[in-house]
């Protein structure tokens, strides 16, 4: 009877086009980006404030308008409409272009010449906010931290709106936004401002690979009492808190609630989560990359300590070269350039799945010593494939669900989206009362009493 609500259709009957408000939002955001672009060519060095407001803040405001409008209109069942028809989210031209842009950004960020970065107008336009909050000038790492944090916050709001029917997603998203803003942005920079070590609380060894290396430990030990406590806390998180929390809640407590890499993937990366590779081959590759990296970082850390103890007697500069190599290939190229740059091409958790040594460590704990499992609801699975498609870790969730089997996988980060997108209420993230009952091997198709009861023979 009612026909209202077809405002979108008036513009364009069949394409899921955008309405006026969405267009205005995109327009404002584009103007902001244009201003940033102009400012970055030099003018921002003369008037950073102008470009901060007309560039950075304007694009943030415009984009926020677009997101609010888009998702306040959508209901739960419409969330994933046309994801595979959109050039940006289905590896079309827009997706490739965005991927190349992101990758390029990381390359310039990590390896761009310091002669550029030291006087870059692009950085200067962040001075107003850096000076106001922290009292120091922006550098490229401030720029990166700011963009990273703002991405998590804005896209976090988007995730909250998109998944507003699902309290698990709301609480979890608030958590990653909180940890990013407080523990991976404000606190470390305030500490820096107060001449304390710039300490990133939500990253611990072995993800923050050099945190427990001799140089950083020495640095912290000589930087006062607070630094010493931070060092102890960090080691405590890695070796004591991690196994305990993972035992009770699975690896999700870190990967989907605290970690900034996971935070970015689940907020800014949410439009690309379905691009992960679900094949068995990908799973095999994953096991051949992630565990060797964990082994490597453990051995390397030990080696560095031996070397430091012996003052280079045996290994000379060898261990330091290895450390440099790890920093370049794993820390920057893999985690940054590929991990984030390739979001629009390989999905969001490439680093978490194939590379992160912390995820490998948590995964081993989760697989062998945790109460966490994803429960399958009896026989209700219809094998539709939504769970597997939207699993960012590339787990073929459906393969378990359709057999009525619980899902206990090292790689599962417990983001909960499989349960969110399941149209039949089949999947549920649960912490059991013990870790021994997680797997229900050889289940029968639930409800099939004929086969279940060791079979009734001929009457």
């Amino acid at each position: 009877m009612s026909k209202e609500g077809f405002s979108i259709s008036l513009v364009n009957p069949n394409a899921p086009g955008s309405d006026l408000v969405q267009k205005v939002g995109i327009g404002i955001s584009a103007l902001g980006l244009l201003s940033m672009l102009i400012g970055a060519t030099g003018p921002a060095n003369q008037d950073p404030s102008f470009y901060f407001w007309t560039g950075i803040m304007t694009s943030i405001v415009g984009f926020s308008i677009y997101i609010l409008r888009t998702f306040l209109h959508k209901t739960e069942s419409e969330n994933n409409n046309h994801i595979f028809n959109s050039s940006l989210t289905a590896r079309g031209i827009a997706g490739w272009a965005f991927g190349i842009f992101l990758t390029g950004f990381y390359i310039v960020l990590y390896w761009g010449p310091s002669s550029y970065w030291d006087n870059a107008a692009l950085v200067t336009m962040f001075d107003p906010i850096s000076q106001t909050i922290f009292g120091f000038r922006a550098d490229r790492w401030f720029l990166y931290g700011f963009i990273y944090t703002v991405s998590i916050l804005i896209m976090g709001v988007r995730a909250i709106l998109k998944y507003r029917h699902d309290n698990y997603q709301i609480v979890r998203t608030c958590s990653v936004m909180f940890f990013q803003l407080g523990f991976a942005f404000l606190l470390p920079l305030f500490m820096k401002a107060m001449s304390q070590p710039e300490f990133y609380f939500s990253y611990v060894w072995p993800l923050d690979y050099d945190m427990l290396w001799p140089d950083s430990v020495d640095g912290l030990m000589n930087a006062g009492t607070l630094a010493l406590w931070l060092l102890i806390a960090s080691a405590f998180i890695t070796f004591i808190a991690t196994p305990i929390l993972t035992y009770f809640f699975g690896k999700r407590w870190y990967c989907s609630w605290v970690c900034g890499c996971g935070g970015l993937a689940n907020t800014a990366g949410d439009p690309f989560r379905h691009l992960s590779d679900k094949s068995l081959t990908a799973w095999k590759i994953e096991r051949w990359t992630i565990y060797p990296i964990l082994v490597f970082i453990v051995l390397l850390t030990i080696l560095l300590w031996i070397n430091s103890y012996l003052q280079g007697d045996i290994f000379g500069s060898f261990s330091h070269q290895l450390a440099k190599g790890y920093g370049f290939f794993i820390g920057q190229l893999f985690a940054g350039v590929i991990g984030v740059g390739f979001y629009p091409l390989l999905g969001t958790r490439v680093w978490c799945r194939f590379g992160c040594p912390m995820a490998a460590y948590l995964g081993l704990l989760q697989k062998y010593f945790s109460r966490f499992r994803i429960t399958t609801n009896g026989g209700q699975c219809i094998s539709c494939g939504n769970c597997s498609t939207y699993c960012e870790m590339g787990i073929d969730v459906q393969a378990y669900a359709q057999r009525g089997e619980n899902i206990v996988r090292a790689s599962c980060v417990g983001c909960g989206i499989c349960s969110t997108v399941c149209p039949r209420g089949v999947l549920n993230l649960e912490n059991g009362s013990t870790h021994t009952d997680r797997k229900n091997d050889n289940p029968i198709t639930f409800g099939n009493d004929g086969v279940g009861l060791a079979s009734t023979s001929e009457a």
Binding site: M1, S2, K3, F6, I8, S9, N12, P13, N14, A15, P16, G17, T75, E76, S77, N80, N81, H82, I83, F84, N85, S86, H165, N167, Y168, V171, S279, T375, N377, G378, G379, Q380, I382, S383, C384, G385, N386, S388, T389, Q398, A399, G416, S419, T420, P423, R424, G425, N428, L429, T445, G447, N448, D449, G450, V451, G452, S455, T456, S457, E458
Partner: protein, 429 residues
């Protein structure tokens, strides 16, 4: 080891494929699966998600393409035009004949059409198989309005699909409330409200009379029972399905509405079995219908037939009924037996959330107070717990007191148990 048999399966839907997989698990028999629809097994239930862009066809294939060769399940893309039980052969459209020792027919359903004028025009169709999806894709491109006829699960899915493309939809149903042959009044009304909230031109108690043609033989409008003409370029006919068995006409296999099978899912010919949607049980279990065209029973039948064929004769015993669906944003689960009209000797406890988007119905026997069924809308119930409660004839008091055990909603979701318990207490005489 038993002798190696040559098993041919017609149909690569969930029933046929489940049978094939379980036969392979249990034996070394040669397995050939024939389908005219697609090269590989895909999930029919996901057709709507392909149309809406949630997934691509490849995501709806539950097994990767290497799976079939690895498990020695031979796949043939062909149409079986005739089954010859005398010679134990099937004739393919390509002209080839295949021999079998045991034949499994799992050919599913076809969409109903009741002889309406214009029902075969371009742009008029049901939605059951992959080809239907392709033609729907082609017929709905750039159109101004669509009409969907039939208030069942496929009907509401088609409405949702069309709306995802911003195509205005008129939804005609004959009954005075959505799916009210299955859903009790309150649940049915909740879905009515929900359909309207999605801006559907929703017409209850409206008959569908005919489709009018344009000069190219395509649909241009439909006419309702009251003679109203509704202009549209696509007509979705979702008025049920029937077993797809026309190719068996002269085969000698006994059929009625579906292929008649015994408790072992054996047809009138001993080495021919049938399963899934195309089957009509000669002796269904009490409370069950002879034709149950749902995903779950197809799966169970596949497992049962595999056991029987592999030397472990097994009755088809689907246990306690369950089913599920999703109406736009509202999930539906049912366990046990909840009838649309209150049954004599039964009572039900019905709770609905204040905002009218979640509900729970617990049906129980008035005399013994043992629970016989659950209906849940907008909340998730734990299959195993509900199944046990119904199977053990647990009393409604106990069920209500322990409702938390059946709650399968994700963490941090608003709990419904307290409100249900309160309602139960207040309703008590």
């Amino acid at each position: 080891m038993t002798q190696k048999k040559n098993i041919v399966i017609i149909g690569n839907g969930v029933s046929g494929i489940t049978a094939a997989r379980h036969i392979r698990k249990r034996s070394d028999h040669r397995i050939t699966v024939i389908s005219a629809e697609t090269d590989h097994f895909f999930s029919r239930t996901a057709l709507m998600y392909i149309y809406m862009g949630h997934m691509k066809y490849e995501h709806t294939k539950p097994y990767e393409d290497w799976f079939w060769e690895k498990n020695r399940i031979e796949l043939r893309r062909d149409y079986v035009s005739k089954v010859n039980p005398e010679s134990n052969t099937v004739l393919l459209d390509s002209g080839e004949q295949l021999n079998y020792d045991e034949l499994i027919i799992a050919t599913g359903s076809s969409s109903n059409k009741f002889g309406w004028p214009g029902q075969d025009l371009k742009g008029v169709q049901g939605l059951y198989n992959y080809q239907d999806l392709e033609s729907m894709e082609a017929s709905t491109n750039g159109i101004e309005r669509a009409v969907v006829v039939g208030g069942g699960l496929i009907g509401i899915e088609m409405v949702e699909m069309l709306l995802s493309r911003q195509i205005p939809v008129t939804f005609l149903i004959r009954e005075d409330s959505f799916w009210n042959t299955i859903l009790p009044k309150e649940e049915s009304e909740m879905i009515n409200r929900h359909i309207r909230s999605h801006h559907v031109d929703f017409r209850l108690k409206t008959e569908f009379k005919e489709v009018l043609s344009d000069e190219n033989g395509a649909a241009r409008a439909i006419v309702t029972g009251d003679g109203e003409e509704i202009s549209c370029q696509f007509v979705g006919l979702a008025v049920g399905v029937h077993p797809n068995i026309s190719f068996l006409k002269d085969s000698g296999i006994e059929t009625d509405r579906g292929i008649l099978v015994d408790k072992h899912l054996r047809t009138s010919i001993p080495n021919i079995y049938a399963l899934g949607d195309c089957v009509q049980l000669s002796n269904p279990q009490p409370g069950r219908r002879p034709i149950e065209a749902v995903w779950y029973t197809g799966k169970m039948m596949g497992e049962t037939v595999a056991a029987t064929i592999c030397g472990q004769p097994t009755y088809y015993d689907p246990g306690i009924w369950f089913n599920s669906a999703k109406f736009f944003d509202i999930e539906y689960q049912t366990y046990g037996y909840v009838s649309a009209q209150p049954k004599e000797g039964e009572e039900s406890l019905y709770w609905e959330s204040e905002d009218g988007t979640r509900s729970l119905r617990i049906v129980f026997d008035s005399a013994t107070s043992s629970v016989v069924g659950f209906n849940a809308l907008g909340i998730r119930l734990r299959h195993q717990v509900c199944d046990e409660w119904i199977g053990n004839r647990t009393s409604v008091d106990q069920v209500v007191a322990n409702l938390g055990k059946a709650n399968f909603d994700p963490e941090f979701f608003k709990k419904f148990e307290k409100e249900v318990q309160l309602k139960f207490e207040t309703n008590k005489p």
